[in-house]
Assembly symmetry: C2
Homo-oligomer: 505 residues x 2
Amino acid sequence: MEGGLTLSALEQLNQRLVAYIDLSHVQSLLNWDLQVYMPTEGAEERGEQSATIRRLAHEVLLSDETARLLEEAKSQTAGLDADSDEAAMIRVIDRAYTKERNVPADWVSRFSRVTSLAYDTWVKAKSRSDFALFRPHLEEVVRLRQEYASFFKPYEHGYDPLLDDFEPGMKTAEVQAIFRSIRPAQVALIQAIGQAQPVDDACLHQAFDPAAQREFSLELSQRLGFDFSRGRLDISPHPFTTSFGQGDVRITTHFAPAYLGMSLFSTIHETGHALYDQGIPLAYRRTMLADGASMAIHESQSRLYENLVGRSRPFWTYFYPRLQQRFPTQLAGVPLETFYRAINQVKPSLIRIEADEATYNLHIMLRLELEIALIEGSLAVKDLPEAWNDQMQANLGLTPPDDAQGVLQDVHWSSGDIGYFATYALGNLVAAQLWEKINADLPDLAQQFERGEFGALLEWLRQHVHRFGARYLPKTLIQRATGTSIDPAPYLRYLNEKYGEIYRL
Amino acid sequence: MEGGLTLSALEQLNQRLVAYIDLSHVQSLLNWDLQVYMPTEGAEERGEQSATIRRLAHEVLLSDETARLLEEAKSQTAGLDADSDEAAMIRVIDRAYTKERNVPADWVSRFSRVTSLAYDTWVKAKSRSDFALFRPHLEEVVRLRQEYASFFKPYEHGYDPLLDDFEPGMKTAEVQAIFRSIRPAQVALIQAIGQAQPVDDACLHQAFDPAAQREFSLELSQRLGFDFSRGRLDISPHPFTTSFGQGDVRITTHFAPAYLGMSLFSTIHETGHALYDQGIPLAYRRTMLADGASMAIHESQSRLYENLVGRSRPFWTYFYPRLQQRFPTQLAGVPLETFYRAINQVKPSLIRIEADEATYNLHIMLRLELEIALIEGSLAVKDLPEAWNDQMQANLGLTPPDDAQGVLQDVHWSSGDIGYFATYALGNLVAAQLWEKINADLPDLAQQFERGEFGALLEWLRQHVHRFGARYLPKTLIQRATGTSIDPAPYLRYLNEKYGEIYRL
């Protein structure tokens, strides 16, 4: 705590909210276990346990006592620097409190029921490629998310409150402007690559023993700085990172027995998230600041490690000989340069989660535009498949052969997470901004990587990003770390340079 | 629910207590994860999370609303059969409520603090074999447990309330009478075995690949009836069973690379516990009856599987060829009879958890007598090591070379679990009582085992034990299942017959 003031209302508030924070960590454990180890028949009771924890967390946060202390803390700290820990804590608590208070319990239970059914139906609809089956459920989800937005009136745009859930302070108009400015350059790059000599990634598509992949994943993660005394690596169908406190941050990865790229880049990606969570200072332990600044900032850390570090030549100059030792029969005869090009193959594809670094954002822009149109009401759910396919053609020159490979591919809408997608693409932009600054500050970074040294990189991120936790709004954090506001130029420079070289454009 | 009455107060009470039950399952998950997967640095926050869950559970249970509904439910059901589901539910809720209400929050937090420190000190004291270091902590624990007993005055004996925590309705005088009656026969048996030709268990002490041990553990557990769609098997230093609801019952085991007995009998033992938990009827889901009847009844299930089933000839007639296939280099040349004798070796030893079936109860009797004396105040903690060593000599003819192998060996006292030990021995007695009845009802049980058929056994236990959950007090359950009250005779008959044959007495 800075300032030296006796802020008794805030201290009391923090003391009260440790229970809320404990419950959210318990919720994370319930969810981690569900995805990693829970037997199938545990699902029903696990759902009930989660609901009970959620309800109790709601009661702790929304009590009259929280409201009273929050008002008192606000008036006691009215004169404080907006960037102080105290002001930041009150801002973060106020935000959480207001979101919880504005949304009626009735809406929460309807939303939970509707999305639970929508998810189950989506699983079926996707397997049969039957959009008509999913359509009424998605219509209901859209209506509920529109209703959700209405709890936060007035707003500039009906999509703003949804975006704000994932990206505090970000406005629809801002994100639209950013994406509008990068789309032409991204499309042009993809088209140029489409006319160049293709890159062969056959070396990644061989049989790779999952146990050996696991050993290499552990080595990667550890060497990048993941502290295994404060975390674990496990396996789940969809890789993710979760945290039960600064002393227990867990990542999962996935081993595809016939494709090495899956585990390599899932592990590096999740390690990027985990380094952020492990880097939040102990001074913020059990406070509302012990969190990332936003989803986009979190994603900037995972993308920075996955792509700017983990798909770079210097990185593999160090790691590739080690990888070859683990898989001599598969890789001994494959030169580093062939491997480097393989992991950077650009190939427009239908599926977002399989997309490469250069095409990924185009998948996101498509979803963002469609989401905004659905929430505005300018696009009806019934017209969504056609709109999806039109955009795929315009962005990537592809048309899905069926809806399973098109509009039905992602889980997000079925679970009600409208507003989330933009953070993936914003994370890419922020990662490139940070990357330019890091390389300016650490001119021999490439040589360090070639020697297997990743400590200076981590130290930079600790210093400029991690140690602030949720203290700053994302835009303030970006400004402080890079000296500018969010800016797509570094990202486009990075893409053009890297792929210009690989594809000899 | 039986009875057909509209018991609205009880229904409301049950509805209210689902949150309490959910929280206790969540607590079990926090603890399972702590023992199985948690990284070392997660301990502090995990402790805080557990404390928060415990506090919230306390608040849910102890609210004025619970008290009001409980009184109302009692008066509404006053005329009901004491063995009905409704009456049983009220009894179990009333018991939990009364225990929670009688114990002041201040005592709970002192106890938690003292035992946490006592545990840490015990770990150190044991490693240095330094009882003096542990002594002041144990003195404090004993004082706190004496104080705990005082919250439940009046009682016949100061140890009664402690025993009752683990074994509802059991009195100190009863358990003393039972143990007094079996001690002479147990001591005599051990002495006779001591003069007989020793049994060689060298075949168990070889190198056994842990991965192959794991495969065999899974096979054992599954064949005995453990449902893996509703459970898991993991590894932890101290094997245990836990349940997060009837759909998620988990066991752990431990693989010793140079001793096969560890994993075999840990797995069978924990499977016995798990079959009980998986056998509690779905009708009791999320009620206070979805639990075992007591620790002793739970232990009767695990001991029955571990010893009466898992150390029998018919069992290994089926399993031993399978075990030999898994470990041909170690066991191909070892005849079944040699293996059977090895797993039934009787050898007085210093350490309870390594004790065989014939000497085990003597370890328990020693602890029970010392615990009772400590709580009565007739034995001072400072005199405990001497008293321990005297009893070891009297019961087993051994004197520990140091306190690490004597009075400091068990974790229980450091964690405040005075009152627990008796249930281990009572479980052995009940297991033998059930075993006589099962064999009378299923005369070809041995032939079934020889064919690898364990379904009829499980069905009998489901029918006579599991399906009642916590509906009956242990003594009622034993009476219903065996036709008699708790009786040590079957246990002594079993021991004398089995070991009389093995040791040719």
